[in-house]
Symmetry: D2
Subunit: 251 residues, 4 copies
Amino acid sequence: MSLNSPLGAETVNGDGFGFGWYAEDAAAGAAPFVFRSTEPAWNDVNLREISRSLRSPLFFAHIRAAAAPPIQQTNCHPFRHDNWLFMHNGAIAGFSRIKRDLVLDVDPELYPTIQGTTDSEVLFHLALTMGLTDDPVRAMGDAIRRVEAAGQAVDIPFPMQGTIAVSDGHTLWAFRYSTQGRTRTLFHSTDIPTLRHMYPDAERLSAFGDHAQVVVSEPLNDLPGAFVEVGESTVVILDGTGYRHQPFLAA
Amino acid sequence: MSLNSPLGAETVNGDGFGFGWYAEDAAAGAAPFVFRSTEPAWNDVNLREISRSLRSPLFFAHIRAAAAPPIQQTNCHPFRHDNWLFMHNGAIAGFSRIKRDLVLDVDPELYPTIQGTTDSEVLFHLALTMGLTDDPVRAMGDAIRRVEAAGQAVDIPFPMQGTIAVSDGHTLWAFRYSTQGRTRTLFHSTDIPTLRHMYPDAERLSAFGDHAQVVVSEPLNDLPGAFVEVGESTVVILDGTGYRHQPFLAA
Amino acid sequence: MSLNSPLGAETVNGDGFGFGWYAEDAAAGAAPFVFRSTEPAWNDVNLREISRSLRSPLFFAHIRAAAAPPIQQTNCHPFRHDNWLFMHNGAIAGFSRIKRDLVLDVDPELYPTIQGTTDSEVLFHLALTMGLTDDPVRAMGDAIRRVEAAGQAVDIPFPMQGTIAVSDGHTLWAFRYSTQGRTRTLFHSTDIPTLRHMYPDAERLSAFGDHAQVVVSEPLNDLPGAFVEVGESTVVILDGTGYRHQPFLAA
Amino acid sequence: MSLNSPLGAETVNGDGFGFGWYAEDAAAGAAPFVFRSTEPAWNDVNLREISRSLRSPLFFAHIRAAAAPPIQQTNCHPFRHDNWLFMHNGAIAGFSRIKRDLVLDVDPELYPTIQGTTDSEVLFHLALTMGLTDDPVRAMGDAIRRVEAAGQAVDIPFPMQGTIAVSDGHTLWAFRYSTQGRTRTLFHSTDIPTLRHMYPDAERLSAFGDHAQVVVSEPLNDLPGAFVEVGESTVVILDGTGYRHQPFLAA
């Protein structure tokens, strides 16, 4: 399995960026590396150097568009815990009103590792508290339900919004869910050799290896058939056997 | 005379920003202060603090959109020399091909004060070399003619593009000129009390003092009559007596 | 009253800096301004510009030496709440073990304004919770006692260490206290005209105005009599009537 | 051949850092990668991630102590040209007085690639102009002689100072030279297996691979015999056959 994320492709956001990657020859359970920066990605010369030099069988990339300051490294995705990476494209509505309530539910052992001020990092810690490393789908669902309960207690109508990617270095879980049922989009690539066969002249495919598998918020090209949309209230699971779609918090 | 530039109003560019300001009670010939940053302006908390706290009878503000790296403070406008400020919204076409030629024309005494890599800073130093502090209009014209000659020698059809603002702390000169005769726009405000009389209900005017005079690349509001466009090949001179428009490098 | 802090004088630390200042003509209760940066102070060109341009009857300056990352603006002192400024030179021992416990004691209304990860900001919020704006000396004492109780509950022998400065824009409270009774030093200046009379040739005094009053962690010069040490377990209160020393959490 | 530079070992300087590295499986003549930052190295979390994740048969690391601003990425070492890396620990005395003179001698084709303001980058470009990629020792000598001539023409007694490292990805040249004959120190490691044999209990050696070869400004440990000083006016050449010392600009 290989994930090639299009670094630099989503440069409309300028409030920092980050990427996380697992080493090519990492032992099972080895922690990934993380690089996060508050610079706009588009002109960051270090980003270019590192993205050209890295090889990784699985990596995450994220470009942040902050609702507000603070712009700081500790608010940039992905977040890491042991061998796990987490990133979130979305928001918890009314977060400042329920942050304290949610943080109180984080395992006191995990509490000191919260370093930034984002809703996403708290959501990650809630999911860890609820067993993310044992059963990612159930724990992610429980964490989101907790957010929804906290929000609804203070009359926030649609607390949860967003797509979420989580990995342990071997499997990737990508969630699409919002309380309102109007979630930001999520796509994954189809089989690259098949695409090459369909579009022998498409130069845009040349950037991908034969085994590349890409999960993205927007299709990277407009070739019909190249990207599959992940449905609302769905988790897509990617491992050595390919993609599986499952209902997630479906009504 | 007072210039109030709309800090934060032009935040579509994210490759740094800068501002320069003269002190309220500065002696004649006193150097202005300069603050330049490579952060995107929109979420810069220090920028908000400083712009709220400063009072100045005359200040410059600039948001940079870089064609390319390096993104560094020394490439941010405005540039300063003694009591002079300079900023440029535009570009010298093919600059890398003529930079050396232009830099050689800079007074060797001034050469060491070039700190960045931009076309704009070299243009400022050329104008200083040609007598900017004695006769800004003539020297700015000579510097631009020098750029055009260097460019045309290597077949760059339209070397010069842009609007330029220069001040000694008392008078402001704002130039609009391009070799091609298709220059980025330049506007200045009209009399604020008259505008208030015309638009007694316009809340947008409440941000301006009665003596505010604003020179900008785009009108700050769409009130008819509020902003006057400066024509092609024109310099507008602002001092205690108001605005004067003069031809500048007109054919 | 005037406080002139020696910006740039304590540049041995390189993990960011900050300063906060009240405007010259501020109304009672007006919020101060804050500028905080993660750059090392010694070569920060913006710092030089701003410190040369600002005039303020009362300002704070702080150079941070972080025990560890994250180095981020939100971890730089001073911290601000309405018209109050707070800074701390020291540490809470074993903070990661008691942080959650202390944060739970912060007023839920104030909780969302915690933006960084430092012990100092939590201490400030504890003191605000305990009535800092009504009775600074009592509230600061209560907050420190709370820290000590939390620390001692997990066998941290000496939880509190440091000097603290707090102001509402008119009065400055400077505390020196540590659980162990071995606190970092704290000094304040004596009467400048008297010093000038004692040392008519001392050029080092020329940087200070006649009404300058300076509270610092280290004496700024070695003129005998120029700086008075604040004792252990003492708060010094500076207002229009001069300095007063009072016992603070004395055994 | 392997160079392992002690990232983080020389953290007394806080004006930025940089490193450059050749890929493990790079083709002959492949360009190295460069990462440069203006952050102090000691608390830079990205530096830790990248230095832990990178594997390279040959890399450079540099910690900058700037004499003055500007602190900017383009002033951080190492500098790169095609497959060459260059770094300099030292200074050209009176550089601002001879910079223009030296820059005029840089090949006009190379001139546009000068991005920063340092003496070191100009020295690198002078050496490139004089044939560094064909004959590094002769070209480096010619460049230094050019610097000395320019300096002596304006009565700078000792223009050149420093140690310099240059590589094409296969061979490393490390120069120690100053006009005054009092150059900053330069050392290289000796044979690691021999050292292990001599000091079977030395834990400090465990960080080094058997084939590690280290060229440094200061010995990394105090084991007698572990580091060899490179003499004044000497170049040490490191390739697959080990170290060779040659006279360089010796009187």
